[in-house]
Symmetry: C2
Subunit: 228 residues, 2 copies
């Protein structure tokens, strides 16, 4: 009998590349404002705008676009042109329609896990963005449930477990973020597997608080880990 | 025994005023561009931008803001200024933080329904917007579930019924839109109550296809209707 009833996967940087998309757009944004400021200052002001706007606009591409526009207005002292603003919006549209690049071994690993478990996606962010990405990923048929939450805290995971009808002790979350995919799941009584993004080694980690979770080098190791 | 196990409510223009918020912002947008174009043409171009962007940005305030900015760039032939763009973004932030104005009798009606039924919200739109509105509405404690879907079609309602563990024949949806809250629910095997926005009379409607649903004049009539 499997150790878990439900295996839930984070999406961005766990199933598919995500940060690379933002980095590419941010590079173009630096070039757009290169006549005004050095890249470090542009990054710092964009980061400040994103933090300020998170409470208003949440996570996702649309909020990122609005933060870029605000930063462009600020850093050009209002001289940013209409066509430049349009250019920034067009980058956002490109980000939302660009092909999804799966991480290596994802389809095979999820399919193998799905043979013995219910599998779900639990992701943070913009509902529309995330559904569109799942559709473009070609993975939609593999998952029994697709849950988008606005924050990944213990309360949100407890609500997901209730919605999906799974006991905390039979739930395991797989993701690339200790902060979002591991610690709040442990706090909610579930188990967690950490798969760092672009890291190629595996070891077990026991943080100071004594919480225990597995760290794997790639998602390809997951089916084997679940059968251990 | 109640006729239904779960009573689901649409949110925008069913629980709280929504269209009025957009109309107010759109009026300011017309004034911003009044030197360039007559209001009818501004409305027409904004409407076209919204339709074009729906597939990219989905429903919600952030998508509306991006459509206003694109329309301003287009209608000023790129001469819109940075401060004007910033103004449009500020309107969006205002829309997302403005107090929620409940429709008359909503709290009492939902509380009365909740005495005999599980009650949920099923709403379309931006997850972040909708969760923020529920929090500001003060109604959050009344609902057992809050489901945000990206489209309200029969498939989405069937998925909601499965997630909430309710048989279609024991599910009733209450909302202001025949297209979104009634017809797809009937197609998924559920029942529906139509409460037109700002309409003060009640009657029963049987559309051409023979689907049957109730139309009530206000949400205050709902608890009585459920007990009939």
């Amino acid at each position: 009998m499997p150790r878990f009833d439900l295996v839930a996967f984070d999406a961005d940087d766990t199933l598919w590349h995500h940060e690379t998309l933002y980095h590419g757009t941010q590079q173009r944004f630096r070039e757009l404002l290169a006549d005004y400021h050095p890249p470090e200052w542009i990054d710092a002001r964009l980061d400040a705008a994103e933090r300020r706007n998170l409470a208003h606009f949440g996570y996702g591409v649309k909020g990122f676009v609005l933060s870029m526009i605000e930063t462009a207005v600020e850093l050009t002292e209002g001289r940013v042109s209409g066509p430049q603003v349009q250019q920034i919006i067009d980058w956002g549209r490109d980000m939302l329609s660009t092909p999804i690049e799966l991480l290596p071994g994802v389809r095979e690993a999820v399919a193998a896990v799905a043979e013995l478990h219910r599998v779900a996606v639990v992701t943070k962010g913009d509902l529309f963005d995330q559904e569109a990405k799942l559709a473009r990923s070609g993975l939609g048929d593999l998952f029994a449930a697709f849950e988008v939450v606005s924050e990944k805290d213990a309360k949100a995971y407890a609500a997901v477990m209730r919605r999906l009808g799974v006991e905390p002790g039979r739930f395991v979350m797989v993701g690339n973020s200790v902060k979002s995919d591991v610690l709040p799941v442990l706090a909610a009584g579930g188990a967690a597997v950490h798969i760092p993004y672009e890291l190629t080694w595996a070891h077990e980690v026991v943080p100071a608080g004594g919480a225990e979770f597995a760290t794997l080098g790639s998602i390809a190791e997951l089916p084997g880990w679940l059968e251990r």
